[in-house]
Amino acid sequence: MFNGILFQQSLQDLVKGIRAHRRDEEEYIRSKVAEIAEECRGADMAKKTTAVLKLTHLQMMGHSVGFASFHIVEVMSSPVFASKRIGYLAAAQSFSPTTDVLLLTTNQFKKDLTNGKLQDCSQALTCLAKLVTEDLGRDLEHDVSLLLNSPRPYIRKKALLVLFRLIMVHPDTLPVVSQRFKDRLVDSDPGVVCAAVTVTCELARASPKSFLSLAPLLYQLLTNKESNNWMLIKIVKLMGVLTPLEPRLGKKLVEPLTTLMRTTRAKSLLYECCSTVTSGLMAHPEAVELCAQRLGEFMDESDQNLKYLGLLSMKKLIQAHPHLALEHRDNILDCLDDEDIGIRMRALELVSEFITKRTLRDISRILLKKLRKASAEGFSTDAVILNGQRETFSDSTSAYMPVTDQEAPYRQSLARQLLKAGEYKRSAQTAKSGYDMLLTGDDFAWYTTAILGGLAEIPLLSNEIRNKIGDQLLELTSRVEALRPISVKVALSLLSARRKMSAVRAIVDQKETVSAEDMLGVEENGEPKNATESDTQINGISKNPDQPIGACSQSSDEALLPPTLAASNAWVVGEYSELIEDPVAAAEILISFPRKGLDSADQVRILTAAMKVYASCHEDDASRLHNVIRRFVDSLVDNQFAEVQERAWIFKTLLTACVEGSGNPLAALFEGKLIPVDYRAQSKIPVGGGLDLNQPLLDTGSDSLFTHLLKTIETKVDDGDGGDDDNLFREAVFANSTLSFSGVQMGSSNSASGHGPLLAGLPEAVDRGNNPYYLGATSRSNTDAKTQQDQLSMTESKSPQQFKYDIPQLSTEAAAVLAEESPSGLKLSDDERELLQSEVKPADERLEAAFKGAFDGTNSKETGKDGKRKKKKKKKSKKDRDSASHKGRDGKEPAVEVSLIDFEDASATSSSREEAPSSFVCRAISLEVLTWLD
């Protein structure tokens, strides 16, 4: 149409065409591309130019135009500027460093750079800046550097910036041009100086050292009144890079910078000054003061950008000068309410900087409140109803992204921040390990009730956070004795899920008003109330709490305690069950906890906890509970998880042994208190005189011990009478303990106590049964564990009178002696702590393996590592026995009793306390082995 090009579609036609073919855009474009390709092949330059123009448009829309690279080069080399310009633009847009025709452009660039035409040169430079590769850089550096001396500032300026790109891809250029470069910093044209400063600034970021020599020159520019803000920003930034290398420069800079910060009205310049202060002038109080003041103003601004940047800069400042944070505390906390998650995250980072022992509670309370709010907002799918003021926000965003997803990182960070105080600090020096933020018992009580309790009830937290909460509850409770009554209470109220909000609130409110001394007293007063509350809850009567319903309580009804948390809580309740005021209610809470969705380990924990509670309660309570517990255990006997089944069977057998009305026989098993012991303590006890650890305990002749044992059992099985309840009970204990604890202790006892051949065979045989490496070895290994247990029980019932159930004072004594070695019973060492976490599983598995490993051989968790652990354990238990019997002699007790005692002890532990954290024996063994191996 124009220029005599008939029938060629113009760019406008193309764009219109694309818009008219919305439905089949792809196809339309494909046909057009074919058309354009045809046009490109023609000889008419104008036609070609239009084709390239259209291609550039298509390229911008995201279509590949690689096929036309050569034609673009053709258009670039057109003598007509209008075409050339389009060609250069197309090249700049569509070529990449790997485009092969790039080699062809070198000459074209050279020609245009040197032909003296302003516009050609300008276009070539602009395009070169985009395309430059190392080859191009090497070939063209000379031409470009000559342009630095061009009479036209316009070209000098462009050449400078292009040179920067050349240097980046081809660093050898720098030495050649450095002098000319320096000259440009004092150019007569301010635009050129500005460009030179920009380039210097960018280059200095790569290697600041080589630019220190330019500092005086730059300083001059900085103090020059005529410099414009753009350039000042660059210089200030450059100074920020240079000052860390040269402290004296910082000293000189303080004055001009503070002047700038006081006088300038440009926020960007001010911000840049602040950045420079935070990076290089931290040692100069006046600058820092002023900077903090200015950043504080930033945070006060209603402009979101300034707020964001203020927070960003403030963080660096506060890291070096924490005292500054106090002044801006409220400001920063306000930012946590901001609508922009970016601002909130930055503010949160800042908050973590100024938490101290003194401010921990206040700030944690605020954070928890924010978290509650954030969760409530996230939980409700309809943010509009919940919070009217967010109406517009959710309207405009919901179309793009669900609110929940955006807010999740903020909630997790908040929770993580809250949990920081409860992290045990490990340190190489034992004295330095501990909790930084929590000091008094009051602190711990507060942390557990307010923070852990509070967090546990917040919905929408990630599993990672929930595991952390559970771990901390467990860890804190076992480390800090004073905390236990409170933890138990918190755990109980959390377990009673539907009413947990009000219960925890009650405790929290109570806690916050009482001081450390009278806390326990108040606790007791508050207890009955809690218990009744729990009772009503158990009975399913969900009466509406009178307290005002916060946003959270709406959601908490639907959100039960997550499984991992439930398991940790159950453990705490069970382990410290003697601290429970109303065991009946506690047991019922455990029993009625919904098992849906819990995996086998969690269910086992809850079951075990219920048993522990039962075992620890008084006679009256026990008789009240007996049937409830029985029913509970019965219901689990056919549980879908094998491990739960196993456990339920053990407990069922135990319970059968308990005669109703005759007090609480299980309680006897817990009389001895087991105290955590430093892992090094055991090794300090010398081996008793005359003991040879390497000597075999008994001689079985040529038979393997296990075969020997099985033979013995077989002979006895037939005449076993099944026993009365009393016997059954003992049998269960016996089977349990021997199988899980290898029964090595019995070695010394058997000769004296006259158990006869059966017991003589037992220890090592069982030991082997324990050891995964022996699993497949015997023909009997496939028998059902229960059968095995029954067999053992039945045979054992022959000599029931041999067993007494007094719990050994001696063992406790030994523990106490051991405990003395460690600085305090509360402080577990790092290794111990790790084991505390890691042992939970293996301990369970050991028991499991003891019963079960022998029959299925496919216990998937019996990995090599566990196997090794077991091997170690075997060695250790020998040693253990030695030290115990050594003690026994010192304690002037007959060796027989010592061994019995040890045996009983083990049985108590294994039957109801098999979870490693609670079990002194388990822990002592494995810890000891670990240290010993070292």
């Binding site: 764009v15 300026k157 500005c194 920009t198 940047l309 922009d340």
Partner: protein, 128 residues
């Protein structure tokens, strides 16, 4: 990334090792991607300057101007930035340079009516 943000949010978004700084003019977003340690406020001022220059170049710039004359807006942008760095900070100088370039290309294949295109600025493509 930028579109779901409301006017009450700040104009900086972190993205991997870079920052996205944007400015919204009516239905047009101008987006720039910058290094982490670049000055966000400066970037926003530059975006604003770009818009102002476009405004005086086209005379009350609108979306259609940009779409039809995408080459021209590129050329204007080229006058402000080279290789991602600020080249010229004087609006008048930019305008003059752009017009000089146009003048040199007077018999440019200049075509009639303009058409539409998605409302995203191209500035992001041009900065590093």
């Amino acid at each position: 990334m930028v579109l779901p943000r409301t006017s009450k949010m700040c104009n900086v978004v972190d993205r991997a090792d870079e920052k996205v700084v944007y400015k919204r003019y009516a239905s047009l977003y101008f987006v720039a991607c910058t290094d982490r340690d670049d000055n966000e406020l400066l970037t926003m001022e530059l975006l604003h300057m770009f818009v102002e220059v476009l405004d005086s170049y086209f005379g009350n710039v609108c979306e259609l101007d940009l779409i039809f004359n995408f080459t021209r807006s590129y050329w204007v942008l080229d006058e402000i930035f080279i290789s991602g760095e600020l080249q010229e900070c004087s609006k008048a100088a930019i305008l003059a340079a752009a017009q000089a370039s146009d003048a040199a290309a007077e018999p440019v294949p200049e075509f009639g009516p303009r058409s539409m295109q998605p409302p995203q600025s191209k500035s992001s493509a041009r900065r590093r």
